[in-house]
Amino acid sequence: MPEVTEELIEIEDLRFGWPGAAPLLSCDRFLLRRGEHLYIRGPSGSGKSTLLNLLAGVLTPDSGRLSLMRQDTGSLAAAARDRLRADHIGFIFQQFNLVPYLNLAENVVLPCHFSRRRATRAAEAHGGVTAAARLLLQRLFVEEELDPTAPVSRLSVGQQQRVAAARALVGDPEIVIADEPTSALDFDARARFIELLFEQVQASRATLVFVSHDPTLAACFDRTVDIDDFRAETRP
């Protein structure tokens, strides 16, 4: 399959450091290909969120190159990088993912307001963004009856994470980045969440980047890297 080899993220000789501090990240070569399930192992405070901000095009490298969808983020204006992120990346964070004043469905369709590409894809596949959102919510809440118009404030953390997953997947972005999405969940909820996430990531044939410090999850992924491989001071 040719598309499996397609490079979604490509890093060459990247260097990054916060102003006035020692270089934090350093990476000579890194490739993320379509369909990969990548596990990045790393404790918090290890430069992980800096790396994610670089991958998302929020930050740009000090030197070297980071290409997202074959576009060099360093040569793009901030607004163009925002659009690139909106079009191609879905995010799931550790917690507090949801906008408190929007209901479930509104939270899920949110990326479609900032990305015409994802809105079009959702509409083409499911007849409308709201329909797409409802379908994703149904799939992620198979055992539960869920009112898509309910406020998000009454959801448990596990439910919130599943809504966040639906939002990250809506409109089929190429890349889903999950930043410790399970660390606020108990064991059962964690297993259930990982299972559902994999199901849906596979269904939409997205590429998953999963960051966690929980080594037990690494077994589920076909590729594992260590955050230390990206760190300037610890890199071999």
């Binding site: 929020v58 925002d82 909106a86 995010f91 964070f93 507090f96 906008v99 307001h113 900032f114």
Partner: protein, 413 residues
């Protein structure tokens, strides 16, 4: 859902602080509009007191003083004009009409003005409007009186009622007559000018009253051909054939040989008088603008205070694809919405308050403030406030942009 709807929902989510902010803006808008309305209508009703009169002539004093006593019935003339001067000048070429005015008496607190029936014919107020009668007509007999609308309403007079006029000015005169010499023959329609607060009688009536004649006595003396022509009047109004001649006529009157006279243009004197009150007018305006500024400062404080709590919300929006532009738009939109709703509520509040207070304001100050949507003069004020609200919104928008730069997609705040 666009950014506007997002802003709206976000505000609804914080409806307690949002509604307080809206309320302070609304109060300031109501105050601003109220002051503006009073100001413009006070000025209008002021300018409306006299029109169509080309010159006002009185004994030599100050132009404002002459205007005050001849038109506003405030204060007194320091000296009078000889009847002969009046009759002479009224025959000058270019003079179309001349109306004598004799002041100095009162009836239960209202000024009594002696004049000729021509007054009802030629006097104009507001936009060249004639005096209209709601009942009856001009005085015909010596001891007939025509009441201004407020005099009739407040004192409860009807046609045919009799009333006492006291010499001098005050509620109770020192030589009240037992016999009620004057009879009401006409009641004027309301004008919103000092005419409403005036008792009009003929010049001969003033003379008769000063001689303490009653109706019977007056009729008897007149029958014997006794002359009731006054020797002096307080002032007179002139209407000219050609307004361009007014300057020459004014100069001629001011250089009148027989006695020192002063002729003034009513419009110019009104403007001088209004300028005297401008300080108060400006002070009112400054206070209401300061109140609006305080309301906007409140808006700024609330927006900035909310920003820190909302850093996570902004990071989430950024992570789902919102650019810096969207985040700034959101903040700007919120300020705009708060200001807009505040303005709308303020307009409504001002209208409701006016609806409740209008009768009292008319009663107390003789000012009829119309209940209306913002007028052409008020829109710029509201527009200015809206712009100020947007400008205020730029501050949190900028701060939020700085925050977003620093926070990136980090949601652990």
């Amino acid at each position: 859902m666009n950014v506007l709807r997002l802003a709206w929902k976000s505000l609804l989510n914080r409806r307690d602080t949002a509604s307080l902010t809206v309320l302070t803006i609304a109060v300031s808008v109501a105050l601003l509009l109220g002051v503006e309305k009073v100001r413009s209508h006070a000025r209008l009703s002021f300018a409306n007191t006299v029109s169509g009169t080309d010159l006002i002539v009185g004994a030599r004093s100050g132009s404002v003083q002459l205007l005050l006593y001849s038109v506003f019935r405030i204060g007194n003339a320091t000296s009078n004009v000889a009847w002969s001067s009046y009759t002479d000048i009224s025959t000058w070429p270019g003079v179309r009409w001349a109306i004598p005015i004799s002041l100095g008496d009162s009836h239960r607190g209202y000024r009594v003005m002696g004049t000729s029936p021509d007054y009802f014919e030629h006097f104009r107020y507001a936009d060249k409007r004639r005096l209209g009668f709601s009942e009856g007509g001009p005085f015909a007999e010596t001891l007939d009186a025509v009441l201004g609308a407020e005099v009739a309403r407040k004192l409860g007079y009807r046609l045919g009622d009799e009333l006492v006029v006291t010499h001098g000015i005050g509620t109770e005169g020192f030589d009240d007559h037992d016999n009620h010499p004057f009879k009401v023959t006409g009641i004027l329609a309301p004008t919103g000018t000092p005419v409403d607060r005036t008792v009009h009688v003929g010049l001969a009536g003033i003379e008769a009253m000063h001689m303490n004649w009653n109706r019977v006595e007056t009729d008897r003396r007149r029958a014997r051909g006794q002359d009731l022509t006054p020797r002096q009047i307080t002032a007179f109004l002139l209407g000219l054939d050609n307004r361009l001649a007014a300057f020459k006529l004014q100069r001629d009157i001011n250089q009148y040989g027989a006695e020192p006279l002063l002729a003034i243009f009513p419009g110019v004197a009104l403007q001088e008088l209004w300028d005297l009150m401008r300080v108060g007018e400006q002070a009112l305006r400054v206070v209401s603008i300061l109140v609006a500024a305080a309301a906007l400062a409140g808006l700024l404080a609330v927006s900035l205070a909310g920003l820190n709590e909302r850093r996570r919300e902004m990071a989430v929006l950024r992570s789902v694809g919102a650019g810096y532009r969207h985040v700034m738009e959101l903040l700007l939109m919120e300020s705009a919405l708060l200001t807009l709703v505040g303005i709308a509520m303020g307009v409504a509040m001002q209208n409701l308050a006016l609806r409740a207070l209008q009768p009292w304001i008319v009663e107390r100050f003789g000012l009829l403030l119309p209940i209306s949507l913002p007028t052409a003069g008020e829109w710029p004020l509201l527009g200015g406030l809206m712009t100020a609200g947007l400008l205020v919104g730029l501050v949190p928008a900028w701060r939020c942009y700085r925050n977003s730069l620093a926070d990136g997609l980090s949601t652990r705040l």
